[in-house]
């Protein structure tokens, strides 16, 4: 562990007292966590318990009601948005069905670019890594739901981001594909990455922190 920490740059993803609401309901309140290189946080809880909401807040896609998310590292300039260090894999795959897999992946590779301190792997290697090498010339729409999900995961590999935010990454996948994902996540963590994931299935990570989301933290303070 110490060996890893000396190898990778010092970095931390910190969330302080986050709370968010949907409509009048507070979904969660006073969520704080602190993840450093190699750290993982797994959100569990039933549907609608606010897992996705919390992930979207961390990814900067939702404005929290209170609190903030910050990113520290020795390579990043101060005042940077935490979201820029993150990969976000949501429920939807962010891939165009009209384009081929290779076109999709190379677009994201070019558009996302590499975050300081790492390099993404090539498209062919990424497709191999998710176990679907050799079909990158096919339109994305021809793939099955499970294959689409795997290719969406390959998107995380082609551009380097230290933080992975994964929302139900293993949905629509069979057990063997889950194993592939778990291996990739473990490699990412071993390389000094950080991961936040919401999941129903256990991902089989040994030293992941777990945060249980309950949903409905009360009615938001009266605005009217």
């Amino acid at each position: 562990m110490i060996k890893i920490l000396t190898k990778v740059p010092e970095m931390r993803l910190t969330a302080e007292n986050l709370s968010a609401r949907r409509g009048e309901d507070l979904i969660f309140q006073d969520v704080s966590f602190d993840l450093s290189a190699g750290g993982a946080l797994v959100l569990t809880g039933r549907n609608g318990s606010g897992k996705s909401t919390l992930l979207r807040v961390v990814a900067g896609l939702l404005r929290p009601e209170t609190g903030r998310v910050t990113w520290h590292s020795d390579t990043a300039e101060s005042g940077m948005h935490a979201a820029e260090a993150c990969h976000y894999l949501g429920h939807r795959n962010a891939m165009k069905v009209e384009l081929t897999v290779a076109e999709n992946l190379s677009f994201w590779k070019d558009f996302l670019g590499d975050f300081a301190g790492g390099r993404g792997i090539s498209i062919g290697e990424a497709a191999d890594a998710v176990g679907l090498g050799g079909i990158t010339h096919l339109p994305f729409g021809y793939l099955s739901a499970g294959q689409q999900r795997r290719m969406a995961f390959a998107k995380l590999l082609v551009a380097h981001r230290p933080v992975w935010i994964l929302d139900e990454p293993t949905a629509a996948l069979d057990v063997s594909a889950e194993g592939v994902f778990t291996t990739l996540i473990k490699t990412h963590l071993a390389d000094g990455g950080i991961m936040l994931a919401a999941t129903h299935q256990p991902l089989g990570l040994e030293n992941a922190k777990e945060l249980r989301m309950t949903g409905f933290a009360g009615i938001a303070e009266e605005r009217w």
């Binding site: 990814a59 896609l61 939702l62 820029e84 949501g90 795959n93 891939m95 009209e98 190379s106 677009f107």
Partner: protein, 219 residues
Amino acid sequence: MTALLLRDFKLSVRAGGGALIGVLFFMTVVAVIPFGVGPDLNLLSRIGPAIVWIGALLSALLGLDRLFQTEREDGSLDLLLMQEQPLVLTVLVKCLAHWLGNALPLVVASPLLGLFMNMSEIAVGATMLTLLVGTPALTFIGAVGAAVAVTLPRGGLLVSILVLPLAIPVLIFGVSASYAAVEDPAPFMPPFLILVAITMFFAVIGPLGAALALRNTND
């Protein structure tokens, strides 16, 4: 950014993209007019530039509501919002790609329709030139409407309602410049330059407004 431009252009040209449908709609709208006003060639040549412009305006609006909606539906919008590069720039590039894929074919098709309308060569050229300069403004204005209506399931109609009032100046100056080219006393340059100015103005306001709206749809 080049990658985004290429991807969006590919998407609009591939099957299911809006480019071909836009041109077909344009031709249909213009072709319907003679049935309404009668086949009087003199009349048609007089109102020709206006008809071509209105047809182009309507067809340019046709595909605009999908500008951000497709990105939102497949989750790409989230990733576009998260990046380091300014969202305004991303929107601007998307507008340019949309213009290249959807509005430029209209400009290219306009001389043919001008001939149908019995317009003189100068009028055809002037209309094409004003369309070339004026249609980007329509795309930029439309981007604001598309961004505002991105969360609405049936946003298409609303986009047109919101966008058309703002597009009226473009139409006024586009048509008056086209007429000025053929009618003697009126000079061509002043309305044409105002049209250029409108386009440049909306090239700034449009992406800014659209980026602001996109940032505000999510939370």
